[in-house]
Symmetry: C2
């Protein structure tokens, strides 16, 4: 029998989506599984609703010794980053916390402070939640689900890329384990500015590492990609491999029509002087061939080092 | 330091809600934490949107040997039951599955079949999801978040009860561990019929046992309650204590104005001939004093028997 460790995350998700079968599209569904968020028509004339769920697990996405506030920030920031990846903003969040009964109340309260601090920073509210116990010795987990909004004419999918598009990335990649994976700033402002002024064709956030995520964007767009390894903006002290594979960068990966990028560089530098925007490659005709690397949740080789690294 | 095991679930939630602080109400929030679902105004003239999250944990809410299809059904049915408890129906669902990497792919696929079967049965769609690994030896968990809809004039909260209301319960209580906790039918149809024809003043679903949940409804309504133990409809073979405390009944608990129940009994029997509707007590003036019993997720005495019982 095949085990989860035998297949990659993408193959697992593909198999589960297949399990959902050819159901009639549900009420209001505009974009279903496969992008950073689902897109729903709830009757608003100008906006789509975005829906997203995500979870972080102790020993996988954070260490047991990490402060509750940083854990809470990370849990919400990951979801906020997904809304940004579609050109949207978060609205309402739901929190599920599963904890062994021997945990200190003060720790759980500090997680909530972190959740709330991140939610407020991006204009979101925590409207409900659930707490449940896990058996003693079981690992803690925090699951965040949320709604968001995107202007219909500003929605950006992974699948919109076209051959010849220039691929950009925000910030610097690699080394997130040093701390950024707990403290990162979701690129909500940057995304809002981009969709208003430069209309990306495709976009996603980098959670599992460029080596995994760029092929995903290219694949979703039905294309291949060219990546200029020398151009990848690296965190100080990081190798190209680290920048490709560490994961949890939570930067934006953006595909722009090449004839629309005149002026982007200078406009970006004026608006975001402290954040790089770097052209790292392009989308090209053909079929995507994923690079090795990045984080595969269920792969055997990765599970040899549980709890050691930050994970997307 | 206080641990989760030292305080009850209600006290934990109260402390976490307090942690959220006196934030400005977020966009569109109509009803926040404390009811079965959050209620959101998304601009629809006739309907509110409902938001809910819930999770089931292996060894707490289901046994490792339970078939994936039943586990999946239960995960979705619990959330559907919360929409019914507000007078609403589910719409879009998001699924987060956390699993150790050594689990069989076929098992996870069978969970998805169960999720999908339940979602379709109640007109909902699965629009997205997330999979993540837990460390080897960690417990599996399935978290479901969802949106639903309720007609504005049919929304029923826990807090709407008034002194003198008659309290009803659907079905029979107790003994859910024998199998019902995996196969139950959320009372969506019954709720829809009730809110259309008899307008309950307060309503919730019974997840943690009548002994916990009736005091919650009374407390939310600022009242006390009278419970006629002899009238509690019991599953065959169950004691009154079992009916009060077993939990996971997922029946509706309903508070109705006493002058509006003429004709309810006969109309109910005609519409739902196979399901009991029983008056079990009333709401009375005063402050609620919770009974002992029911399921407290984090209480020490309960954690002595992990994995043995179904849990709300």
């Amino acid at each position: 029998m095949k085990r989860l460790a035998d297949i990659g995350e993408d193959a697992l998700i593909a198999s589960l989506v297949e399990e959902l079968g050819a159901s009639e599209p549900s009420e209001g569904l505009v974009v279903g599984p496969g992008d950073d968020c689902a897109v729903i028509d709830v009757g608003d004339v100008e906006r789509w609703q975005l829906l997203k769920t995500d979870a972080i697990v102790e020993g996988v996405h954070y260490a047991a010794a990490t402060s509750g506030e940083r854990v809470g920030w990370k849990a919400v920031a990951r979801v906020v980053s997904d809304f940004a990846a579609m050109g949207g903003t978060p609205s309402q969040l739901l929190v599920t916390i599963a904890m062994p009964p021997n945990r200190e109340l003060a720790y759980v309260q500090s997680i909530y402070r972190g959740l709330q601090r991140c939610a407020r920073s991006f204009g979101a509210g925590i409207c409900g939640g659930e707490t449940t116990s896990v058996p003693d010795g079981g690992c803690a987990m925090i699951s965040i689900a949320g709604t968001g909004w995107v202007q219909k004419d500003q929605l950006v999918l992974r699948s919109g890329g076209e051959a010849g598009d220039v691929v950009f990335v925000t910030g610097r990649l690699g080394g997130s384990i040093q701390g950024k994976h707990l403290d990162f700033t979701p690129r909500v402002e940057e995304s809002a500015w981009l969709v208003e002024h430069f209309k990306p064709r495709a976009m996603m956030d980098l959670s599992d590492g460029l080596a995994q995520d760029l092929p995903r964007l290219a694949y979703a767009s039905g294309l291949n990609y060219r990546l200029d390894h020398e151009m990848i903006p690296r965190t100080a002290g990081c190798s190209v491999d680290a920048a490709l594979q560490d994961g949890e960068d939570f930067e934006l990966l953006i595909s722009m029509p090449s004839n629309k990028i005149a002026g982007l560089d200078s406009a970006w530098r004026e608006r975001f002087p402290d954040l790089d925007l770097t052209a790292i490659g392009s989308l090209i005709p053909g079929k995507c061939s994923p690079l090795a690397g990045g984080w595969e949740h269920f792969r055997s080789e990765s599970s040899e080092e549980p709890g050691a690294s930050p994970r997307g």
